[in-house]
Each structure stands twice: as C-alpha cells, then as structure tokens.
C-alpha cells in the first residue's frame, strides 16, 4: 500500500498495489498517474452516473479459495446499452475483472491469445471479427458472440490504465456452452488486443459482501 496526496486537491490517495499505475482521486476525480515516485495529473475522469448496481469499490468476494476486493471501475457504453468492468484485486496481488452487464456477472482474468489468433489480426488491421467464429484463449475454445464499438463513460478508483471519458475501443464477447465466457478488447490507437477469460457467476457464487444497500430492498442472505 502506497499513500500519497492528490497533486490537484491535496486529498489523500491510496494505491493498494504497486502494480497499478492509475488512480482516480475520490474527491476531485483527477486521474493521477504514478511513475516511480512521481505523480502527475492526466485530466479529469467523468463521474460514474447513478445506478442500482449492488457493487461498489470495497465490495469483497471469493473465487475458489482466493478472496478479492473491488478497487476500481470503468463504465463503457455502446449504442444499445452500457456496462461496468470492476477491477478485482486478489489477496495474492493479482488482478482480474468482474464484468457487470444486464444484471449478470462475468469473472474474468487475463489470458493469452494464440500467436496466430485470427481475431487479433483482424482487430489490429482495424477490422471486426465475424460473429460465430471460433477463437482459442488460454488454450480454451470460445465462439465469438458479439462485436461492438464502445466508448468509456466514466471511471473511478485504481486502474491498470488511463480510462478518460470518450476513450474508444472495440469489444469482442465470446462464449462457451458451459457458462464459460471471454472478452477481447482493443483500445483505439493501439494494435495489441488484450484477452480475458473466465465464466458467468452470480453474486451468491462469489459470496459477495459489502454490497450497496438500497431503499426498499433486503440484502441477500449471503451478503448480510
């Protein structure tokens, strides 16, 4: 854990892990980038609009034997909707993403694309891979189920990269018949897509705690 002061507003900012270079200040929403001991301001992050997501920074959960805590979030939108990607920091210091869309959750960890990945090649050339084609990620086969151009609406907390509002990307969703799912993302202006693989989970599956409470709703028993 690394504690510093926001170069913009002076509020205390905490870096939970040395591995993540970006932190959005909780108070002034400045994007603070850390390089060694130097902190620089890289613009203002947009505030995440109000929603009824039960997740929040500080929500904890378990994946198998490992505990994690949500420490950051990026909110994306496309023409027909929006979704959130929550950064999970595991107890062993590794990270993953908990995707939240349409009331469903995808627990994903970074996984390698095949060197000869057709989807990676197409994306790098500025194209969009076709829905229904097969793709190997981390040695497992998935089917491409959705491809869309997305843009970042807002971000908060600690992040592995800068996510200013308006950041554009191509997002590819992949699925398996057994509940497995994966995602490939290519930020615009880059040519090296990153892949994440995992599975669909429920909040009960991951024994989520420290969830947000809502007026008129009982906290589920696993989280109470």
């Amino acid at each position: 854990v690394l504690t510093a002061n926001c170069p913009n507003c002076g509020a205390e900012i905490v870096f939970r892990t040395i591995g993540l270079p970006v932190k959005v200040c909780d108070f002034c929403h400045s994007t603070v980038v850390r390089s060694g001991d130097t902190l620089t301001i890289a613009g203002q992050a947009a505030e995440v609009p109000d929603d009824v997501s039960p997740l929040q920074i500080g929500t904890r959960g378990k994946d198998g034997g490992q505990s994690f805590e949500l420490i950051g979030r990026v909110r994306w939108r496309w023409t027909d909707g929006a979704w959130s990607e929550w950064l999970m920091l595991f107890d062993d210091g590794t990270t993953g993403w908990l995707g939240e869309a349409m009331g469903r959750y995808m627990l994903l960890r970074e996984a390698p694309l095949e060197p000869a990945s057709a989807a990676a090649k197409t994306l790098a050339e500025g194209g969009q891979p076709a829905i229904g084609t097969l793709e190997q990620i981390g040695g497992t086969q998935y089917t491409i189920s959705d491809v869309k151009r997305v843009s970042c609406i807002a971000s908060e907390g600690e992040l592995p990269y800068r996510a200013p509002a308006g950041l554009e990307a191509v997002s590819v969703d992949l699925m398996r018949d057994d509940g497995g799912c994966a995602s490939i993302q290519l930020e615009s202006g880059t040519d090296a897509p990153e892949a994440y693989a995992g599975r669909y989970v429920t909040l009960a599956d991951i024994a989520a705690t420290n969830l947000r409470a809502f007026e008129g709703w009982a906290m589920p028993k696993f989280a109470a």
């Binding site: 997501s53 009331g103 469903r104 969830l211 008129g216 906290m219």
Partner: protein, 507 residues
Amino acid sequence: MSSAPPAPAVRALNCPNCGGAIEVRAAGYTVNLICGHCGSTLDATDPALKVIQASTAALKRPRIALGTHGILRGVEWQAVGYMERAAEDGGWAEYLLFNPYLGYSFLIDDGEAFYFTTLLDRVPTEGADQESRVYQGHHYAAAEDGYYRATVTFVVGEFYWRVAVGEQVDVTEYEYRDYGLSSEENADERTWSWTEPLRSGEAEKAFKAGPPVPFDSPPEPDDGGGARGKMAAVLAAAAAAEAAKEATRTKRAASAKSAPLKGKTAIREEHRARVIAIWKVAGIALIVLLLAAFLRGSPKLLMSKEVEAPLDGPQKTVVLGPLDLPDSSTAIRVEADAPSLDNSWIDLDYSLVDRKTQENFDAYGAAEHYSGSDSDGSWTEGSAADAASFAAIGKGQYDLVVDFSAHKWDGSSSSPSSSTASAIDASGANASGQPADPFNGLTAEQRAELHLTTPAAPLAPPAKMIPVKIDVYRGASFFSNFFLAFLAIILWPPLIWWIDRKRLGLR
C-alpha cells in the same frame, strides 16, 4: 461491516414527450423506457432521456402494477416492465422482474396461469437424438408445435434491451413434465430460459394482481411456422399426446376383437395360465415391497426447530443441520406448522444443501389461514400446516436452509401503485412542506416507493411474531408410495383377469 445509508433505488423523472411523472427502477441497466402515460419510447442510456419514438396512445394498465414488489418462492422481485407477445393463434403477457442483487427474470401470464422463467447463462446440452435437450439431469423433449414466431404487440415500462412493438423472435420449446426449456432466437443472438409453473394464486397474491386484462390481438398470420401461444403449445401437445394414446387404445381393442378363432377350451386354458403367471409375479413383487418397507423402517423425525416469523417483516433464514442420510436414496419430508396464523400466510422456501458438493435441492411450501364472515356466515380457508417433500436424496451430510416470511392478508388491499394519482397526491403534500417529516428531501415517487415496499417503516409498531414449528422427517413420503404400490400390485391380477375374459369373450 460499516454500511452507508441505503441508496435510493428509484429515480424520478418526467417524460420529455408528455411531461408525466415516470420512474426508473433499474437505473444503469435499463436501456429502453416506455412511458406509462403516453407510450413514448425513451432512451434511458441518454442522460437527456431522448425520445426514440413519440406516441400519444392511451395505455392500458397491466394486471400487476409496475413497481410492485412481490416475493416468489422466497425471492423478492419487482415488476419493472410489461409486454404482450403473440403468435399465430394466441397471445400472452410477460412481466420483466428485477432485483438489484439477482438481475432479471420473467413472470408469464397466459390468461389462465402464471409461470416463472429464469434466464440461463449456458446452453443446455443436446440429447442423444438432437431433438431433445438435457438440463439439470432431466431430458427435455421437443414440444409438439413447439416452434413458432413470437411478436411483441404491446410494451410499457423499462427493459434492458431495445424492446419495440413488432420485435420478433423464433421460439423453440422443449418440455419435461410441467417444466419448459425454450430458446429465443433472432438474427443476433440466441438466449435460453427455463420455465416452471406457479400454483394458482401464487403470483396473483405475491404481486397483488388485478383481474385479467385482454391481450392485444395477434398479428396477421405470416410464415412463422407452426405458430402457437407459448403455453397453449404445451397444453396442445399434452392434448395431442392424450388423443394419440386414445387412438392406440381403440386400435388395440379393435384388433383384439377380431383375433381369436381357437377352440373355447384352449382359450380358457391359455387364460388360466396367464392369470396364474400374473398372480405369481404379483406375489413376488409384494414380498419385495414388504421387505423394502421393513428395511426402510418407519418415518423418523430427524430434526425439529421452532422459529418466529415477523408479520410483514423481512424474510428470515434458518439452517437445520447436519442431516445425515446414510442411504443412497432417501425421501425427506418437511412439515411446517403455524397454529397462530390468522388472515395471513407464511412463505417457506426450502433448500437441501449437500455439505460436500454444495449441490442443492429446492422445495417450496406455504401455510395459510384466512377467516372472515359474509352473508353466508363465517368462513375459514387454508391450512396452518404445510408439508413439502424431497424424493430420492442421495447419501451424504446435508443442511436444510429455510427462508421464511409471514404476510398479512388484507382483503381490501389497495396498495399505492406507481399510478399518477398517488404520485400527484404525495407531491402535493411535499409542496406544502413539512420540516418535521423524516422523509423530507425524498421525491414524491420515492415516498410512494418507500410506502409501497417497506410497510414496516421506522414509524410503524414492531412486527407481530408468528411462531412456526419446522419438522424434518426421513422416509416419510415413502408410505404413501408404499400404499399406492401395494394397491397397484393387488389390483393388477384381477384387472388382467377381467380384461382378458372380456377380450376372449369368456363368461
């Protein structure tokens, strides 16, 4: 755990087309919002709530007011969207249900009964013949006329997709007993869902449903294939199967009549031999049955617990365990008794969880007791005791998780709905400004919502506690089965004897 005050779950807005008060109940997830006043479709992903399609239609109100919370099988849901869909020869209604912690599910009303539909996050595996699907270990056969095109005919409320009247999907249905498995397919995607029937009155009571409303008429016939109303298809398939059975029976009877041309004595001998053989088989079956009953022993009380359910209070959970089941297949019966129930009911949601594998088996129960008096004198209805059973539970150590909640039945219940009337009333009160009001600062819609969803608000008196006794028995349901089996075995030989004589024309 440090907990922030509960965040408002409802956002109050005004329709940019008609100015009417509207509510967003699933902010962040909702994509399309259809105004309940004018029917305009609004883009909920746009902060300005852009009008996608303006409308001035006078909208009918669904049986279940949008915004209503209800507990179904122990889980709380809120009705946030309503659509009617139709196929070639029938229509049905679908409510989109939402819970911030669980996401979405559907409540289907075919005009006669309600069904609960869960969205699946995986594709059920194909059966051996490719015409069937396997889900949770059960074989779902393709439903007769179970392929049709469904078209949205009416829509109001909020949805997580760009719903629109005229939207079409191709539906394929599979069935196992009363359960349905279906896929909905359009050009972009194919989604799978699982449907279970609800008991009569279950959803109506949970969501305070009004009388049925006529569904919008189905669209002009197109080339959508053997189209049928979703549940109508299931019923039709059952009727067809029954008809087919009847036809086979008639055919068999006809062929039997034209069969025998042997001598009377030979026929009599044959008949005698057959009846003796059947009695022998029945005798062996009877011995096996009695032996099994002897080895199983009588029903045994495994565990008993007394709990208290707060009337109209939050749902509570109790865990009974461990239950050690030494046999490879044990029937479990759970009895709940709440003798003090009066004009109220208790929902009981049972989940038997294997400690080792975490595999769970669900069952549901409800104890209810109502009384009152009318022109015919006083009346009572329902039973304050309830029993639920699990059949054939495997060997292992289990916990029985019981979620229970008690609800007061209010005969003349007129709950504040999301209708404009209550919203306007409340905002009138708000405008007059009362500084002492603890809920000051909330919008009219949030007030209506609070009142609607938390009857036990801080100002209400403490909830009355209803004692409930929960007993868990092992092997209990076996005895009713035993009796049925016994009866079947005993009746079988005389039945065959009689049929055989009839068939052979013996007197």
